[in-house]
């Protein structure tokens, strides 16, 4: 194999590694937002998945059990947001922002409680290379499945109806509050796999700040991908590619900060409508209160 081909393959491999957690987080956000609940708390859900999976894997010695626990933690956190958004009708942005702050701090506090040291956990049994490959493939399977579910199944139609016009959905006999609740919780389960990937597949420990704003890059991917699972996955791959490219370009003298800012700038461009028409679900972020 010649050197150029090897370099290209390495870059593509790194792209997949960098994109996978973004894909999970973005897919989780898409389900939630298509139902009408904007999930600013994706970063917190990544943290919950990453931290909990490490603690449980360390305690039981079983990384698969750890991964499952991470998913449960992500669902629990999402359930808090879902409950507040559907039953209390709160401002979803404020609640999500609080969730992020609380989750990051809880994990930092948890490190001290469990490992008696700040900053990072011990190394724990991880999912290994096989587990990492499974999670990468599963991300794409999940994207395709979610696209199918949202566009081709009754549940998907109900979710989208609640995201566009919950009053009309309720008039048609759909329980909008319940549909939104479960969409957010299922979104939390999917997004938490991104956290599990970061701590138990790419690495074998949790450290403070390891999610590094990926929950927000995922929000950018959702917008750039026009709120569709496949679109968001494409955007996540695009951002993952630039994250991977960063290492080579840095050597070539391109400042890494510019590359890191790219997803956020891309989202701003998309928001301003320069990348074609971008339309959020009509009732995204709007609390639904039964008349």
């Amino acid at each position: 194999m010649n050197a150029t081909l090897a370099a290209v393959l390495a870059l593509l491999g790194l792209t997949l590694v960098k994109a996978t957690p973004l894909i999970y987080a973005a897919l989780g956000g898409v389900v939630s937002e298509r139902s009408g609940v904007i999930n600013i708390g994706l970063e917190g859900i990544l943290v919950a998945g990453a931290f909990t999976s490490v603690v449980v894997s360390g305690a039981t010695g079983n990384p698969i059990l750890g991964a499952l626990a991470g998913v449960v933690a992500g669902m629990a956190l999402a359930a808090v947001l879902a409950f507040a958004a559907t039953r209390l009708g709160v401002d979803q942005i404020v609640a999500g922002a609080g969730l992020n702050i609380a989750a990051l701090a809880a994990a930092a506090f948890g490190l001290v409680l469990v490992y008696h040291q700040p900053g990072a956990s011990h190394e724990v049994p991880a999912l290994g290379n096989t587990g990492e490959r499974v999670l990468i493939v599963l991300a794409f399977v999940a994207a395709a499945a979610l696209q199918f579910v949202l566009t081709r199944t009754p549940w998907g139609l109900r979710v989208r109806a609640c995201g566009e016009d919950p009053s009309a959905a309720e008039a048609a006999g759909i329980n909008a509050l319940q549909t939104r609740f479960w969409a957010v919780v299922i979104g939390g389960a999917i997004a938490s796999l991104g956290g599990v990937y970061l701590s138990l597949a790419e690495l074998d420990l949790y450290s403070d700040g390891m999610t590094a704003g990926r929950g927000f890059i995922a929000l950018a991917a959702i917008i750039f991908g026009r709120w569709t699972p496949l679109g968001a996955t494409g955007a996540a791959l695009f951002f993952g590619f630039f994250a991977a490219l960063q290492y080579s370009l840095q050597r070539a003298g391109v400042p890494s900060e510019l590359m890191q800012a790219l997803p956020y700038l891309a989202a701003l461009v998309a928001l301003a409508g320069f990348a074609g028409r971008v339309r959020a679900p009509a009732s995204d972020g709007v609390p639904y209160v039964r008349p």
Binding site: I40, A261, L268
Partner: protein, 340 residues
């Protein structure tokens, strides 16, 4: 303010107190520390001595500016979640210009503070412009601009505008003339505190007693009616976001000029995010926000002592602040988040 709002505000304060002490106690018990000892150390650390009280007021000041910024945007019906980025860029502009152009005292301090105000205002204006011109959702825009701000400041301070050596992530130190004078000797408390109070009073007056303040509130409370009454909603959004960013940027400049005496990329421990809680607890009223800033300032400065004396990690303070924000989400900031 109507009696209804006042009742609402009272309930919010009660909820936050329950959350802070309730969840704070649980966290302390988990860390095998008696809540009495933990909160005792916290309050002792915030009020115990004159210098500790001064440090609490330093934290109050650093929270007050971005909280006023968040509040002014929210009164116009806009959610500025990007105060942290505006504060950081304001701090960078203040630190860089202050160190680059040494001027005599009566010019240096205004120049440094104005530089921070302009930089923060410019950053807020981007979100305001995107909102006014393209109808872009300002929440997502300011959220994204936060990260761009940190990356931009990091790039500039280590790259083209480097002063403090390669990879130092800070500017050169400010000359004495550009440093805000102390309010209490041998403390980090400077005239920034007084400036913050004056700004709060002025803002309150602007909101309640000027045509501009009326238009701003009208745009926030009843955008449809405001539009029919001839208020230019786009222009109001642009001005409110610019002003909001300018306040946060001024806050960053006072941290650089008064506390750190140089810009450092780690200058904010998330002041712009805690400011959301402060603004909501303060019921978006500049004068109550002064009180709320003090309350959260106590948590910030007392948290250091709590960690040192009672061995409760400072993260507990951040944790209860986050939980308080969730509890406050019932206070709707913006009528609708739709990008229109």
């Amino acid at each position: 303010m109507s009696a209804l709002l006042r009742g609402r505000a009272f309930r919010d304060v009660a909820v936050v107190i329950v959350v802070v002490f309730g969840f704070g106690s649980i966290a302390m018990l988990l860390a095998h520390v008696s809540p009495l000892d933990g909160f005792g150390a916290l309050f002792d650390g915030a009020f115990g001595t004159r210098s500790e009280l001064a440090e609490t007021l330093v934290q109050t000041t650093s929270l007050l500016f971005p909280a006023l910024g968040v509040a002014i945007a929210a009164r116009a019906g806009l959610f500025n979640i990007g105060a942290d980025g505006q504060l950081i860029l304001g701090g960078f502009a203040a630190g860089w210009i202050g160190a680059q152009f040494p001027l005599p005292g009566y010019l240096a301090i205004p120049m440094v503070l104005l530089a921070g105000t302009f930089a923060g205002g410019a950053w807020g204006a981007i979100a305001g412009f995107l909102r006014a011109r393209f109808g872009a959702n300002e929440v997502i825009a300011t959220l994204m601009l936060n990260y761009v701000a940190v990356l931009l400041a990091t790039y500039l301070v280590n790259g083209p505008l480097q002063q403090g050596g390669a990879g130092a992530s800070e500017t050169a130190g400010l000359p004495k003339a550009a440093q805000l004078p102390d309010l209490i000797a041998d403390s980090r408390l400077t005239w920034a505190f007084v400036i913050a109070l004056v700004v709060a009073f002025v803002l309150r007056w602007v909101l309640q007693r000027t045509v501009f303040g009326y238009e701003l509130r009208a745009a926030g409370d009843a955008p449809e009616a405001a539009k029919r009454a001839g208020i230019d909603l786009g222009r109001t959004a642009f001005v409110a976001m610019t002003l909001s960013g300018a306040l946060a940027g001024l806050g960053g400049a006072t941290i650089v000029s008064g506390v750190l005496h140089r810009f450092n990329t780690g200058l904010s421990p998330g002041y712009g995010f805690i400011a959301i809680a402060v603004a909501l607890v303060g019921n978006l009223d500049p004068l109550w926000i002064v009180v709320a800033s003090f309350a959260f300032g106590v948590l910030q400065s007392g948290g250091v002592a709590m960690q040192a004396e009672a061995l409760v990690p400072r993260d507990v303070v951040t944790l209860v602040t986050g939980l308080a924000i969730i509890a406050l989400a019932g206070r709707r900031v913006v009528a609708s988040l739709r990008s229109t």
